[in-house]
């Protein structure tokens, strides 16, 4: 289809621009790039959230009372203008919507990639890609499974996996619950594995999101965001790992 833009014609002095479009009704918003942008946007929201969440966790080093006051403070934030727990619900809704968008676009792009090469190579070398970049999909699935377990354990059901510490004064007290839980070695191990998955996801994710949003148009910015990805991975996954490890070795009790 060859169309000539009318205003250009009317102006007379300007060169008319040909617009060929083989795909009918092509829209920027319906491209795979737009999908990737939604994934990047929701990913950045997650990064903001995990930073806040990590800060909250680290309050455990200040002891029982400070930690529980912080947890309660999150619920009473903004009252009486916000209802009790209002801030938490706003954050939860934003996160749930982001998660649906993130996982849905990841699944759509995964399916596309599978269809783009149905006959595999007999021999295929990876020359440049990082392990993190190749683990994004399965690593993401790992994080999702962990997330479900994590929410059941500490938010929705509130269970203690520690046979020595049971009862309401453990499960209904945030500080006591995390201390009791992370004294169990295998639970700490699960969390450390999940944090390794998160670290890899962030290592590639920070760079990938910058690239997807069109922020890395030069070699310098490319090198910079790749380093930023490593920094985010170390700070966030490292920061989250501190509390479980220090509980397990008995520093936090």
């Amino acid at each position: 289809m060859l169309a000539v833009q009318e205003p250009a014609l009317a102006a007379g002095t300007v060169t008319c621009v040909a617009t060929t479009s083989l795909v009918k009704g092509a829209r920027a918003s319906r491209s795979t790039i737009a999908l990737k942008m939604m994934m990047a946007g929701s990913g950045l929201i997650f990064i903001g959230f995990v930073l806040l969440h990590m800060y909250g966790n680290l309050r455990a080093f200040w002891g029982h009372d400070d930690f529980d006051r912080y947890a309660e403070g999150l619920r009473t934030f903004g009252t009486p203008d916000l209802p009790y727990g209002g801030l938490l619900w706003i954050i939860r809704i934003v996160l749930i919507v982001s998660l649906v968008i993130h996982v849905w676009s990841a699944a759509t792009l995964w399916r596309r990639a599978k269809r783009a090469r149905t006959v595999k190579y007999q021999v295929k070398k990876n020359k440049a890609s990082t392990t993190s970049s190749r683990m994004m999909r399965w690593g993401g699935v790992t994080i999702l499974l962990f997330l479900i377990w994590h929410l059941l354990e500490f938010t929705i059901v509130k269970v203690s996996v520690n046979p020595d510490h049971q009862g309401a004064n453990v499960t209904q007290d945030p500080y006591n619950l995390i201390v009791a839980s992370f004294q169990v070695w295998w639970l700490t191990l699960i969390y450390l594995v999940a944090m390794a998955a998160l670290a890899m996801h962030l290592h590639h994710g920070v760079w990938s999101a910058s690239q997807t949003l069109g922020l890395t148009n030069s070699e310098r910015s490319r090198v910079f965001t790749k380093r930023l990805g490593i920094l985010a991975a170390v700070v966030i996954a490292g920061g989250f790992s501190l509390v479980p490890i220090f509980v397990l070795v008995g520093v936090i009790s």
């Binding site: 795909v23 918003s29 491209s31 999908l35 990639a113 190749r134 690239q211 997807t212």
Partner: protein, 247 residues
């Protein structure tokens, strides 16, 4: 040199293919990879067997026809095209696996030959600028800043070979599209169609069945012209601008 070659043979698009093993001897290390295949084909001809179909045209690294997957690397182990790859990059007695580009958007026509028509259609949908015909304009009429001209020129070296698609685990052609978008977007002549170009070209890219980019970087490592990953960021940025302009 003596070599064992494992090569994909497929009589036509509709028939299933398989790997076949061939031995070649007396290969000079100064031969190009394609000349080595020519030697093998002469042997096959002499025996009355069907020669192996592969693409080539310029044999000097500028046309982009000769792409082959060699030992799991697009265009083989050196950053160049298959026609400019020499047998000295291999060792005597080595086994070399040769496969066609694998992407559903590049269907196999025969043996190692694939149909890269999808790239032509992507170019057709926006990889051009509109100019008035008639007297040639004065060469100095349109000033171009040096850094823009340099970047445009660097990415204009893309020869459309398809190695980026072949190397990409997602079968994405983002490096190719990004190279074209950046090339024309850096120049004053490319501005008028900048928004419609990126929308039509990405729509065509998706329509052809190429996958989405995950910024893994295998494409840039495979590209014989060393097109950098920055062009994919530029592509994304141009699409974002087009979105903002309501396209």
């Amino acid at each position: 040199m003596r070599l064992t070659l494992k090569i994909w043979r497929q009589p036509d698009a509709a028939t299933a293919g398989a790997m076949h093993t061939y031995d070649v001897d007396d290969i000079s290390s100064d031969m190009s990879f394609l000349e080595m295949l020519d030697v093998l084909n002469e042997q096959l001809n002499a025996k009355g067997e069907e020669p192996i179909a592969f693409d080539s045209d310029c044999r000097e690294g500028i046309c982009g026809m000769c792409g082959l997957m060699i030992n799991g690397e697009a265009h083989g182990p050196v950053t160049t095209t298959t026609c400019q790859l020499h047998m000295r990059s291999f060792t005597d007695g080595e086994t070399i696996t040769v496969e066609p580009w694998r992407a559903d958007a590049f269907p196999v026509i025969k043996d190692l030959v694939v149909d890269r028509g999808a790239f032509d259609r992507i170019i057709q949908s926006g990889g051009y600028i509109s100019v008035n015909t008639g007297a040639a304009p004065d060469a100095h009429a349109m000033p171009v800043p040096k850094d823009h001209a340099d970047r445009a020129f660097d990415v204009a070296t893309c020869i459309g070979c398809g190695a980026c698609v072949a190397a990409c685990p997602n079968g994405s052609a983002s490096l190719f599209v990004g190279a074209k978008i950046t090339h024309l977007g850096e120049l004053p002549q490319g501005q008028a169609e900048r928004d419609t170009r990126v929308v039509s070209m990405t729509a065509q890219h998706d329509h052809e069945g190429f996958g989405g980019c995950t910024n893994i970087g295998e494409c840039a490592a495979a590209c014989p012209k060393e097109i950098p990953l920055d062009v994919i960021s530029q592509l994304n940025r141009d699409l974002r601008t087009a979105l903002r302009h309501g396209h």
